[in-house]
Symmetry: C2
Subunit: 190 residues, 2 copies
């Protein structure tokens, strides 16, 4: 997705360090036109999997997942990282390790939103080591649903996520794939 690559290049140009700067358009501040384009492209990539619902996890995944689900005219399920007031007592639960914060986190989904009829595409902002995606897969399966695809806006290929997802034998798509960031230079994988 060329406009996304260009935006990543432009925003990260002045950094000169190994951090990807996306918080001005992807998560902390969101460029809504770009986010619509991201949703349309993810929808196009997964249309042939015939998804009935998109699933993501708060917080960073909500915007791209909502844009994708909106483009496909299907509902979005947002897995929670804590039990919220008003959630039912019986929740589907899985645990994983947060790549961002390097700490154990629990994920919760209300079982009423998943059924054996559901074909789920998982969408998140980043694909790094894929542990969050694997936890979302287990959550969907606990609800009796079938995961039919996994998508991300940005993949960091050196974190091994794609290999970790290989055994699922599912389509795994990312709009841009980044191999390396060094001294402000971003190396994309085609």
């Amino acid at each position: 997705m060329e406009i996304l690559k260009e935006r990543i290049r432009a925003e990260s140009a002045d950094l000169g360090r190994g951090t990807l700067k996306v918080d001005s358009f992807l998560n902390h501040q969101i460029d809504t036109a770009l986010m619509q384009a991201i949703g349309a492209e993810l929808a196009r990539l997964f249309a042939d999997t015939q998804p009935t619902k998109i699933m993501t996890v708060e917080t960073g995944g909500i915007a791209p997942a909502l844009a994708t689900a909106t483009a496909l005219s299907i509902p979005l399920i947002v897995a929670r990282k804590r039990r919220a007031a008003g959630m039912p007592r019986e929740l589907l639960q899985e645990s994983t390790l947060s790549h961002t914060y390097n700490q154990a986190i629990d994920l919760f989904v209300s079982p009423e939103f998943l059924s054996a009829q559901d074909r789920i595409v998982l969408i998140d902002d980043f694909l790094t080591n894929a542990q969050m995606m694997l936890a979302l897969c287990r959550l969907a399966e606990r609800g009796g649903a079938r995961v039919v695809g996994i998508g991300a806006v940005i993949e960091k290929t050196h974190d091994g996520g794609r290999a970790a997802l290989e055994e699922l034998n599912l389509p795994v798509k990312a709009l841009v794939r980044i191999a390396k960031i060094a001294e402000g230079e971003i190396e994309f994988v085609d």
Copy 2:
């Protein structure tokens, strides 16, 4: 907003207790067509305030705020509840008490996204006691921006939020206003 009232009535009908059930279409699971309609209506209500950006706070506010900002073709700022990896060292910070969890929370926004040219409309899923909205106002002001409107999907009028916001002398709009929930009956305010 009649379709929203009808949906709230239908989903809460079988509860028979004082809890509003919206998690099947507004936050935990999101009805994307309804969310687009919510965004279009909030955009319509605030168009005359000529906003340059929408601001919200994670997590529940993201979907309606994104839908509103998308309808207005302006950026969305998502205030964070914790310092995330990759955020700049210098952040605008405010504290408030969470109505949902009854605990102190900190809010963070990167100063680069706010300027004296910005006219901000705050959007959240709920308007209860308005403490979160007031904290977002203070955050925006710390960044030199001007708040020009405050909107919510659902207002719970008995929590006193509207009175708490009165001194700001700003348009405060909610798509539906709920006075009372008792034994599964929801009393809307027109």
